[in-house]
């Protein structure tokens, strides 16, 4: 079993298509929607975690790309600006996915992009705008 966290961007012409259904039905993928946003007449954005057999996962991604869905690993859209961060640790207290933790010896933030689910609680919390998530 393999796991991938992806940011899917649906162009306007695909917004009304039941695409994720095919991922489950045709590729036998387990699908966990972490976030979704549809801007009518513009685009749809979906953060999903896909789980399944390695080759099926690959085929599923190819199916999406073939339809015109932009497929990106999620981490690309999360930016943590070290120079703006003051290491206050405020964000760590609201991060539920475990992406932001604190090295307690150094009292320094440890940011693990792959654990981030783009919930944006840290963005709201940070007084120094050290985290930016484009979703």
């Amino acid at each position: 079993m393999a796991k991938r966290k992806l940011l899917l961007t649906f162009p306007n012409n695909l917004i009304d298509q039941p695409i994720t259904y095919h991922l489950v039905k045709d590729y036998d993928l387990e699908l966990n929607i972490l976030r979704a946003r549809v801007t009518p007449k513009e685009e749809g954005r979906l953060i999903v975690e896909l789980k399944g057999k390695k080759e099926k996962l690959k085929l599923g991604e190819e199916f999406l790309k073939g339809l015109g869905v932009k497929v990106e690993p999620l981490a690309l859209d999360v930016a943590f600006f070290e120079d703006r961060c003051t290491q206050c640790t405020a964000c760590s207290g609201v991060c539920r996915s475990g992406a932001i933790t604190v090295d307690r010896k150094k009292m320094k933030i440890v940011f693990e992009k792959d654990k981030c689910i783009a919930c944006e609680l840290c963005v709201t919390m940070c007084p120094f705008r050290a985290v930016e998530i484009t979703f």
Binding site: C88, G93, T101
Partner: protein, 401 residues
Amino acid sequence: MPKTIQEINEKIKKGEAVVLTAEEIIDFVAEEGVKKAAQKVDVVTTGTFGPMCSSGAFFNVGHTRPRIKLGGGKVHLNDVPAYAGLAAADFYLGATALPEEDPRNSVFPGRFEYGGGNVIEDLVAGKDVRLSVQAYGTDCYPKKRLETWVSLKEMNEAVLFNPRNAYQNYNVAVNISDKVIYTYMGMLLPNLGNATYSSAGQLSPLLNDPEYRTIGIGTRIFLGGGVGYVVWNGTQHNPTVLRGENHVPYRPAGTLTVLGDLKGMNSHWLRGASFIGYGCTLAVGIGIPIPILDEEVLRATSVKDSEIVAPVVDYSQAYPQRESDILSEVTYAQLRSGTIELRGKKIPTGGFSSYFKAREIALLLKSWIKESKFILTESVATLPDSKSGVNLKPLQERPLQ
């Protein structure tokens, strides 16, 4: 044998002073004991870096030709209003000031993208800011409008003057309601979803000198990366709160008014900040050296996070309604571990005061002193202590009719 500040300064000038940070002194005292440590160590350096809303700066921008009277007029820096109720070319910009056009909380929670604290950071970073003035015009100051770029180095004076900084201990904020709230202690998630705190604990200046024996009016300090001074007690200085046996206050207590030349400061240690749903502010870095005059002073600097207690306060009801209820008490050791326990629940904690930067400041100040770049001062007057009778009074409203 007690030491004097003059004796310590002689050692600093010769490069012979023994200096440790308020963190390093803890283990040193554990190994050597108070008596020996007091003989060996000359100075303990402290540090703190966090949002401190009662901050701001006085500026004198020089006179235009023809002259313009800023006093009594309207002055803005990058659209942020400054206080101009002073002489012709002077004004004060406060950290929490907001542009008139800022929507504030009309779309809740407001973002508060840019305010006085950000202007101060931009100036210190060497950036040009836009000065706009509307004046009423007089015979001696005929000019009525001014729009110009200004930078810090062009100004005559730029003085950081913060009426309330370096709080000695502070509340731990939680939310017991079932809605998210947005406070100056950050976003607080419902049903005790998170807890926030704001003190450098064992590194914090006033927690290492709980009765203000060495920190007083005239004390030279590290301020915003440059040199500053303690010039008064801070506003809301409240030394008579509940204290432990070690004299360390269990509640927010003493505060400092500090001042220093903004031109010598650095945006690494002065940072504009925005609290969603609350407003703008300035994060300030402060470091204060404590001369080890005797064993009592030394013992106080060896205080550790596990011995410093803070009150847990509900910011959904108790704080806004000014109720004195305290939900619990926790130590900074617990807070810095990442979780506290309250009502049988494990609550994740996050700070607003950067311990990392506090440590950097204490180490930087230590290196300045060791390299004879920073000489200690003797305070010219003391701050009101726990026996002073000074306390924080609420405002008793007296209706007009």
